[in-house]
């Protein structure tokens, strides 16, 4: 009985912790579909009116499209840059390997808000300012590169290079062997790296806070500004859209690669 009781107690703790983790997110989604002005218990019935408000609110819609466009560009840029760097560091770097690895992961180790501050001052020192999208694109890419680097690096470390040698010795050119052998085998790392980069940008707050400018506002910043002055569920609808994006990404990674690969993905 003692062992059973202990197990039951442990199960209870784990369930409670998951409730703690997920409740605030679930609450936002519920509030978005709730008819009332604020969330009451029991709920006042189902409604899509807050989504209507969200779609009717020009700042929110513009911020959403802006974030989507920005995150897509960041994904492409950081995947190309980070992936290529991972290739070099895993395969070609000699003694400099540890140092390079430290360098490419550094943006992840330093607080993003500090990176944002440094970039803000840097852009203004150059006389460029932060008008337009370029500053945000650069800032988001800086903090996204480490994810791609780590995930592509992890699959490359486990990669069996005799497969490439086989392709080459059978007469495939370097490019063909890369395209037909290497790329399909490291696909998992590249895809999860890219998706992480996407969500890092789409949900980015600290870097954006410092680099946004009038007319170029991302969804999290717009949401934050809104929440400082108003509490109404339009924000819940906007949040729900952003939660849906994240859930879609987790689901995609799981379907395409398997979550196991991602979580303990660091070099073993």
């Amino acid at each position: 009985m003692n062992a059973n009781l202990r197990q039951l107690g442990f199960l209870g703790v784990v369930v409670a912790l998951y409730v703690f983790l997920l409740a605030p997110i679930a609450i936002v989604v519920i509030a978005a579909f709730n008819a009332g002005e604020y969330l009451r218990f029991p709920p006042e019935g189902l409604s899509l009116r807050w989504f209507g408000r969200f779609l009717g609110s020009e700042p929110f819609v513009r911020a959403f499209w802006f974030s989507l466009k920005l995150a897509s560009m960041v994904t492409v840029l950081s995947t190309l840059l980070g992936g290529a760097a991972a290739f070099y560091v895993v395969r070609h770097a000699g003694r400099s390997r540890d140092l390079l690895q430290l360098f490419f992961v550094a943006p992840l180790q330093l607080p993003a808000i500090l990176t944002g501050i440094a970039l803000l001052i840097f852009f203004y020192s150059l006389g460029l300012g932060t008008r337009g999208m370029a500053g945000l694109l650069i800032g988001h890419t800086v903090v996204s590169i480490p994810y791609v680097f780590l995930m592509v690096g992890a699959v490359l470390l486990r990669f069996d290079r005799t497969l490439e040698e086989a392709a080459r010795s059978l007469g495939a050119s370097a490019w063909t062997s890369f395209r037909r052998v290497t790329l399909p085998l490291i696909r998992g790392g590249v895809i999860s790296g890219a998706l992480f980069a996407f969500i890092t940008s789409f949900d980015q707050f600290p870097v954006s806070l410092l680099l946004v400018s009038v007319g170029n506002t991302t969804l999290p910043i717009q949401l934050f500004d809104y929440l400082r002055f108003s509490f109404d569920p339009t924000a819940a609808a906007a949040s729900t859209v952003s939660v849906a994006m994240s859930v879609a990404v987790v689901w995609l990674i799981d379907r395409l690669v398997g979550l196991e690969q991602v979580t303990w993905g660091g070099p073993r």
């Binding site: 062992a3 202990r6 784990v14 912790l17 703690f20 983790l21 997920l22 409740a23 605030p24 997110i25 609450i27 936002v28 604020y38 218990f41 840059l81 980070g82 290529a84 070609h92 770097a93 390079l100 360098f103 490419f104 550094a106 943006p107 607080p111 808000i113 500090l114 990176t115 501050i117 440094a118 001052i121 840097f122 203004y124 020192s125 650069i138 800032g139 890419t141 800086v142 290079r161 490439e164 040698e165 370097a174 707050f205 806070l209 410092l210 999290p220 949401l223 934050f224 929440l227 400082r228 819940a236 949040s239 952003s242 994240s246 990404v249 987790v250 979550l259 196991e260 979580t263 303990w264």
Partner: protein, 297 residues
Amino acid sequence: MAHAAELGRRELRRPLWSVRPAVLLLLPAGLFLVVFFLVPYLNMVRMSFLTKAQGAAFTNVMTLENYLRVLGDAFYWRVIGRTFWLAGLATVFTVLLGYPLAYAIARASGPRRPILLMLLLAPLLVGAVVRSYGWMILLGRVGLINQMLRALGWREAELMYNTLGVLIGLVHVYLPFMVLAVAGALEQIQADVELAARSLGASPWRTFWRVTWPLSLPGVFSGGILVFVLALSAYVIPILLGGNNVLVMPMLVVQMLLDAFNWPLGSAMAMVLFGLACAVLWAYVKVMNRALRWIPR
């Protein structure tokens, strides 16, 4: 391996300037991070020693004035103290709450495991703004918890716009990082070690404290560093859940930069926070390394 290298070399038409073509893989990302990461950071360090000018953001006059102003002001020290205190508390609570979760995930088998993992990762991918908003709905004056308290005939509780609210938000947002770090360490422990302890007559409780816990400490320490640094630089959570009642350093730094346009002073404040964080982490790593030496391997 040697064969492939041979093949690679034969195909390579060596250019006059002898740069190995592989370096071309490194250059784009390397240059990008040097220009937009390393240089801006160095520039910020330089900025913290410059002087604020009338009508311009700064002049190229070197001074220690900014640092003296931050370090000599009791107000800043109070805010710094609060920032570190909150980050420390958040770290302790993420260990307390994260350990059981990590244990459950590391020991789960079969189809349960990916589900537990997905439920842990999903919140990690939802931005801090959205999660703070969720807590605002729960903890606010007319929030769900207070509605419940009132329905039970109890008094309303102040759950938000104070330290408690900020702490709840910090623990919630950074808990998954701790869980991932600890679960990673727990995974490394071979089941045989625990089994051996049990078969030699140790109770489950004793097995945990004498075997599992010490072996998982490296994960707890690395998770602790991560959470502490993240919590030190938190900005959204203290603003949304603390209102203006819980002032922390990142809020002051951002205010100084975006509202007061005082870049030299703002940079100096950021550097002080960063420097103190490094000092604390250095001491932490020293102490923990000593502690880890006692773990039997």
